[in-house]
């Protein structure tokens, strides 16, 4: 490239996409293995649709590059991946292996990091937490394994001159953070408006490449992942103390009086 020419560059982004049981139809814990039963069809975790959209926008802004996906899920599940491909991602790696049953967050991060490393991306995007497990630790774990800087809880991301400019949510507001690439960013819900896959996108997604890998393909020792590799165990599952519903009142124009009486009774008023 000649000196002084505008560097339109290209950006390669890997987005972690978790495929989860439909939250509208929550699963159950398997009473013997004490892990989440994952029998039904899985869908794209809504939390990751923001990351996919963010990646598509950043690659478009960079003027070129590719958005690829990485997912770990049982039974060669691809329904959620297809949704993200239909949004516009180009390709995916799916790691699926019976040895991964019961894998904890650290084991998940080891697998995802090994898959991501194959793509040598400029940027890795994940959600701050998944909708079903929500440990919220996988993104930082992936960054540490890959030796990358990370900015978690991003509510806005822009790339300028090889640097990610991120607004990172804090307790009190947000921090403006600058981070050189390659890096990992975890995004919050609402960071962008995820597009709906078009009919054309859905058709195209059917023929986009999905690389199916096992733990052995990634050079990971099966003993370090899965139930055995975890270093933690569930010792008990108990019903949480339930809260009783109280009185219910159909508003007949005097509901506000009920509320005031309730507050007076509690000495709030």
């Amino acid at each position: 490239m000649p000196e002084g020419a505008p560097d339109l560059g290209t950006m390669n982004v890997v987005v972690c996409v978790k495929q989860i049981p439909d939250p509208a139809d929550p699963g159950a814990l398997d009473p013997t293995t004490k892990t989440l039963k994952r029998d039904g069809k899985l869908i794209l975790d809504e939390s990751d649709s923001y990351g996919v959209e963010m990646a598509l926008q950043l690659v478009a802004a960079a003027g070129g590059g590719e958005v690829s996906l990485v997912s770990m899920a049982p039974n060669n599940e691809v329904s959620g991946i297809r949704t993200a491909l239909a949004m516009g991602a180009a390709s995916a790696i799916l790691v699926s292996d019976p040895a991964l049953k019961g894998t904890d967050a650290l084991g998940t991060a080891k697998v995802l990091a090994a898959a991501i490393a194959r793509k040598s991306p400029d940027l890795v995007i994940a959600a701050t937490e998944s909708s079903d497990g929500y440990t919220g630790t996988v993104p930082a774990q992936i960054a540490e394994i890959l030796g990358l800087p990370s900015v978690t809880f991003a509510k806005s991301v822009a790339i300028e001159g090889g640097v990610a400019k991120v607004q990172r949510q804090t307790e009190a507001g947000y921090d403006e953070v600058e981070c050189p690439l390659p890096a990992l960013v975890s995004v919050t819900a609402g960071v962008v408006e995820p597009r709906y896959p078009s009919f054309k996108g859905i058709m195209a997604a059917k023929s986009k490449p999905v690389d199916m890998l096992t733990v052995a393909d990634l050079g990971i020792d099966a003993g370090r992942v899965g139930w055995a590799g975890g270093g933690q165990e569930i010792v008990d599952i108990v019903a949480a103390p339930a809260r009783q519903a109280g009185e219910k009142f159909e508003d007949d124009g005097t509901a506000h009086e009920r509320i005031i009486a309730f507050l007076e009774n509690l000495k709030i008023l």
Binding site: T137, Q232, D236, A240, A255, H256, I259, L263, L269
Partner: protein
Amino acid sequence: MGLSKVWVFGEAADGKVATITLEILAKARELSDDVTVIYGGGDAPAIAATLGAHGATSVLATGDLGGGLLGVAVASALAAVIAAGDGPAAILLGTTQDGRDVAGRLSVKIDAPVITNVVDLELAGDKIVGTEPVFGGVTNVKTTFTTDKPQIVLVRPKSFAAEPSGGAPAAVGVLAVPDLGATGGAKVTSRFVEEATGPKLDEAAVVVSGGRGLGESGNYALIETLAKLLKAAPGASRAIVDAGWVPYSYQVGQTGKVVKPSVYLAAGISGATQHLVGMKGSKNIIAINKDGEAPIFGVADLGIVGDVHKVLPKLIEALQARG
């Protein structure tokens, strides 16, 4: 008693220790006589008295990080101490932005698991057993460690009551941060604090929250007016945070704040499990929803089946009339 040594990840802003840190200290001092606060920042002397009063024997601080992100710096420093053989039996952190960064990075460095989203914990011998609510809090799972590595635990806010125990100021020591290489590349260039008046959401005695049932952004003013009249903090469901009606700092729930006020009033909020986990520890719950079948009524002590556009203005008017 209990564990030989426990580390608590301490957080503070403007010289004031975060409530989550004090909550965790209340539990930590039950687990061990040797509780050290781990702090990423330069103002440890300013908080040492408060930390000591809540049961910390010492505080190890990195010193000013010069804009570097806290998570990676603290995790790397702790890994070095552990590698040198001075690690603790357990490390307790809050489920916060930085707490998760420290826990995640440290777990990789010492190749040990993290037990997350804990709302209660107990000891079985020298192992921590954490209680974690699943499926929106209808089921509790108890998880323990099977390794002999330091036990990393992420604790949800409001799990324990912050109580001073009357200890002497914590002794301040240095936590050396090693060279972070590429992982230390991220730098904070500026900080923005959102204007907040009135009581803080996670500390207020009364919280008044609004949801999508308010209809449109402008109607959130009803919530703010009511909150002012009740000296309450205004809160929100994620639906209206995502819609941009109010900032994220207003959000109550799984991915927002956990609140446990004396009274929580939910107006036009359906009561999704992710909202419920953030507020069902409230002592008293009032719900206003036009759908008599809304799940929020399952946890409400007083459920009003009605239209927020009718009930809230009348309530506001009646409260204003009382002066």
